[in-house]
């Protein structure tokens, strides 16, 4: 059975990616693998789900009409590598990620995980705008 990997973060871009991923999985008759990961270099990272947020997402995935699982890899390394590794592992057809608008200053200071995924992943990538 083929698979669709979704890179999920809480917020608009994660929501867009998840919706698109669910639609793709339905279309392809594939299972859905939702990945929520972190670089783990700060003490607090609210994009790494825990507590209520985690429970809500799990409940949402369980209610879907496609086979879905949630993975939170604990390698605490490059986010793009995490996604690609999991995509290899599950034999994914497609990786789905969300994009957000970035300010010029933001582009200067921070490296974008999305652009790293687009450039380095060994799979087809679907980028959805939030």
């Amino acid at each position: 059975m083929s698979a669709v990997v979704v890179g999920y973060v809480p917020g608009a871009e994660g929501r867009a990616a998840l919706d698109a991923g669910v639609a793709e999985a339905r279309l392809r008759g594939a299972r859905l693998v939702v990945v929520n990961t972190t670089r783990g270099d700060a003490l607090v990272d609210d994009r790494f789900l825990a507590g209520d947020g985690l429970a809500e997402l799990r409940a949402e995935l369980d209610a879907l009409d496609v086979v879905a699982e949630l993975r939170q890899p604990q390698t605490y390394d490059d986010v793009a590598d995490d996604l690609d590794t999991i995509a290899d592992e599950v034999g994914a057809d497609l990786i789905v990620i969300g994009l957000r608008r970035r300010s010029p200053v933001g582009k200067l200071i921070l490296g974008s995980a999305a652009s790293r995924i687009l450039l380095t992943a060994h799979h087809a990538v679907l980028a959805v705008k939030a």
Partner: protein, 497 residues
Amino acid sequence: MEAFGQLMGGFADAVTPLNLLFALIGTLLGTAVGVLPGIGPAMTVALLLPITYVLEPTGAFIMFAGIYYGGMYGGSTTSILLNTPGESSSIMTALEGNLMAKAGRGAAALGTAAIGSFVAGTIGTLLLALVAPAVVTLAVAIGPADYFALALLAFVAVSTVLGASPLRGLASLCIGLFLGLVGTDLLTGQQRFTFGVPQLADGIDVVVVAVALFAVGEALHVASRLRHGPVEVMSSSGSFMTREDLRRSWKPWLRGTAFGFPFGALPAGGAEIPTFLSYATERRLAKHDSFGKGAIEGVAGPEAANNAAAAGVLVPLLTLGLPTSATAAILLAAFQGYGIQPGPTLLTTESSLVWTLIASLFIGNTMLLVLNLPLVGVWVKLLKIPRPYLYAGILMFASLGSYAVNADPLDLVLLLVIGLLGFAMRRFGWPVAPAVIGLILGPVAETNLRRALAISDGDLSALVSSPFSVVVLLVAVLAVVGPPVLRRFRQREAVAA
């Protein structure tokens, strides 16, 4: 009542716009470093020591005092919301505080911590203002031999009482004492451990050692285990303190203060022990079995204790020149940087500085209460800073500060070498505080020892000639011998039973 008049004079000096600004900067900075685990007031004051070269003493000490008090406040936030104590003195707060936050009572826990800190800080500072002049009148009679005995007690107490292993504490102390020896002997002009390096003849600058041990050592330690999972943040929402909370909190606040202040003032000081004691007491006194389910008493007591201890630590520092915590040792170094030697004469020679400092403690305390609760969100945001950025910044400040001391590249080499030592100490669980206290108090103790011996013409019995020094030395011996003996005794009892 003379003290009261001087305190009012101190307030008049402290309420100038510039000094208020320094107090604000200090309290903000102090809370920020208190919130961040691994970065404490001692490191921050050490990093800021170079500014003492340009700032006048009053402003600098107002800021340092703000950092010191702020650090005690800030630690509670991470303890309660993240279950990750920012400082060793808020470990106890994490136990019940985090449980309260999990039960949706985060706001009340933060509230009782902040108000308790304020109450304890204010009472502690008031006690400081009352006790300091009295201690000074006693301390004037203290001779060099007595002072040496006191310093010895401080060494032993700090090394053996804090931390897990007395042996490691003493070893760390010896490292500090050794680093303090480097340089030219003031009495004979002989060079000690300088290895013929001319720059070492003046000794290794305290700024370099302190910054290396605290900042570089910690940065390397964090870098060595950079990545681990993020911690879940509890919500700080929920209802603020209710009348019931207040009723349950006020007694622990006062009891915590009663534990904290004397322990801070004793040479065996530090803020950790009173927080343990306060927690244990509240747990025993609790009528209902709410402990273990988020009891507000378990937050109120320890938080009051650590702030009262912070005030208590200033008593021996200002009246005897005796630091009993790492931060106090760095403050002593700052005094020395200005050519001021804290001791019995400080209150008369630098009267306005001391009273302005005490007045600014009251002001800083009030600022902390006002700042802390509304800004909790900001403090938690600080924790999102990725560690590489944070520690890169700290390392840059560390290098800048060390280089600025003498504009000598050798200081940067020393910074790195001692920084590696600091990393090794953390890696193998050696406490850093005894090393810093040994480094700063060591030379002072040596001067007093040699002065005492010079007066007695080399007769060692002069060290135990006064009843005061005999008692102090006995307590010091007990601090070393007591715990292991007690432990063995208890083991035997356990075997017998």
